[in-house]
Symmetry: C2
Subunit: 391 residues, 2 copies
């Protein structure tokens, strides 16, 4: 029923081994025989049996790209770039020669699903795996993922991290491309501070994610450097971790106007609301933020999508952007420039990063020294931020 290598061999009057060699092209074969074989392949409409081939060769041409949310362009853009780099241009014949099968797997941000996908990929003896986006910081999951990646690497799978920080306990990976989330966030908040903002709200992502933490840390670095916050460390998990020095500080960062009040650790918490990385969360969180502190003059969002929700909430409160409240996002997704007003944000070179990750996964590019590279983030100042009212 189904045509096999042997059938092709018979029709081309050569041995199966020769057909195999022609197809894999990594062995000298006489031009005339090759031609004969190729014709037989076409005549018979032969398609290589992937599983059989993978079994015999102990490797497959599958490359997995894991993303947190495939509906989010942040991941779509990176994954698309990586896939383009991996899949090769295709020869237009539809015959599919030595191409890798680059596939993207949607974890939905769930560590369990991430682990399941890694196991599935391991089972397929994937040639490479690219993990994109921030990691969950739960120690158990971190350890489980780490162990799994080590096993994958041991089995010959190339592991590449893209937009995910390398984990402390030295996973085995070919390369880790980490975004400078902290630096970008710091510069963004510095921009707002330089405009004269002092009461800046922060709509953060899910508390347990590295991306969330780094961006928040960058923001707070800037705030503290301006004397506008307490000195708690890291991301509080939301409970009562304030260090009780509310509102009494007297450091002199030149708060403008009579109502400028120096922030403390308690303030820092009050001005931070966590949510998911989606529009709806941004909307809800911003409403909450405005309820807690009606006098914020600027809102920094975890990413552009969240910023969009924030804008909607602010407008619904009857406030104007940027006249009453400035808004800033992160990532510089394509739609951000079209927001009204255009969104001030931090640009991450997603295409470049994804493509580079793809090349690293294919072994087409030499890894950065130490395997780790930090990718710069660029501040994009646009219309959604302006000096606060009365300044």
């Amino acid at each position: 029923m189904t045509v096999t290598l042997a059938d092709v061999a018979a029709r081309a009057r050569v041995s199966p081994a020769t057909v195999s060699r022609v197809l894999n092209g990594n062995y000298p074969v006489a031009a005339s025989t090759r031609e004969r074989v190729l014709r037989a392949v076409d005549d018979l409409d032969y398609v290589l049996n992937g599983p059989a081939s993978s079994l015999a060769a102990a490797t497959s041409d599958l490359v997995g790209i894991l993303v947190n949310d495939i509906a989010d362009p942040f991941f779509g853009i990176m994954a698309g770039a990586a896939q383009t780099e991996i899949g090769g241009p295709g020869d237009g014949s539809g015959r599919a020669g030595g191409e890798k099968l680059a596939v993207v797997c949607n974890t939905g941000g769930s560590p369990e699903r991430e682990l399941t996908y890694l196991t599935l990929l391991q089972r397929q003896r994937a040639a490479a795996v690219v993990l994109t986006g921030g990691a969950v910081e739960d120690p158990a999951h971190r350890a489980a993922i780490s162990a799994k990646l080590t096993k994958l690497a041991d089995a010959g799978t190339r592991v590449v991290l893209c937009g995910r920080p390398p984990l402390p306990d030295g996973e085995a990976f070919v390369a880790a491309l980490a975004f400078d989330n902290r630096g970008g966030a710091r510069r963004l908040t510095e921009h707002l501070l330089s405009l004269g903002h002092r009461r800046i709200g922060y709509v953060a992502g899910p508390a347990e994610r590295t991306t969330t933490r780094h961006r928040l840390e960058g923001h707070r670095e800037a705030m503290r450097a301006a004397g506008l916050a307490g000195d708690g460390e890291g991301v509080p998990s939301g409970g009562e971790s304030g260090t009780a020095d509310g509102g009494s500080g007297a450091s002199g960062a030149g708060a403008a106007g009579g109502r400028g009040r120096q922030g403390g650790a308690r303030d820092e918490e009050r001005l931070t609301v966590h949510g998911l990385y989606d529009r709806r969360s941004g909307y809800d969180a911003t409403l909450e933020l405005l309820r807690r502190e009606p006098e914020v003059t600027a809102v920094v969002a975890a990413n552009d999508t969240v910023a969009l929700g924030a804008c909607a909430a602010i407008r619904e409160r009857g406030l104007r952007i940027p006249e009453d409240v400035s808004v800033a996002g992160f990532d510089d997704l394509p739609f951000s420039v079209d927001a009204v007003p255009a969104l001030t944000t931090v640009r991450l070179p997603l295409v470049e990063a994804g493509a580079r990750a793809g090349r690293l996964a294919m072994g087409k590019e030499t890894p950065p020294p130490g395997g780790i590279a930090t990718i710069a983030a660029e501040l994009m100042v646009r219309g959604s931020t302006a000096p606060p009212r009365g300044r």
Copy 2:
């Protein structure tokens, strides 16, 4: 080095066949033995060899989801929904039991790449393939894809079309879920007509795609029903195919004001500009449209992303939305409601469609009668459309 089924069998003191039966769970095994086997699996940290298993069983657990553009949420949302339905909830153990490996493949809208991916999936003996989004109408490619799908189906791969119209020459597919693009587009334009618009520009997608054609046809149906266009048929390819009756018609659709002019086929063409399904194209095409016909009072875009670009172009021309020009999109992607003003558009139930496609691919849902289902599109009227000036 690598642990195999036999190793597990030895440790559990059973035969390899029994281990296989436990792992696949589709055969009666004594509870005690199963437990012993499972422990051995855990002890040895055994991972099934996918290729070997697929080879022996002549099927794999791979399910491919093809999308035109993974960076476009339109596809991301559908693919995510399908993947969730296919991948199963995962059991949290990371052990990966009977799960399918749902993967998405990005064709970038290129028929060659689409074909290549199909071949790759065929090679892997994929359990199912879901094709999302519109098809390219080039006859050669249509035939090639059709032949390939037939072969896939013959080999036991379940083929599902999601958001793609079934092709005329009866491909073998389990089911085809087609969006009512034409009806949705017609109702959208009817909405604009009912507001009093007469000079309506259309920023279309790539000319050779089914989605583009159907939406454009719906638009023109409405225009013609209002006596506002010629009677050419189908999508003109852009050349001089006008039927020369420009501006002389006298059908009485009550054009408002003195400057309403009845359109002819030539007008129909002049008011249509083709581009890609992205923001940049929408921007460029709208600029071109405004150049050709400065007096348009409404612009209908091929989709929401394009509409965003259109808005930017219109504003750059110093025109207000919707006071000077109304704008409408298609798809109702999440960001559309946050546009300013909120975008009037046509809602497609992407999540439902994707999930249904996923279930169909898994054989978890019975196909619609005849294998074909049309999915309704719902008009969403929002702030970006209003009566034209002076009405």
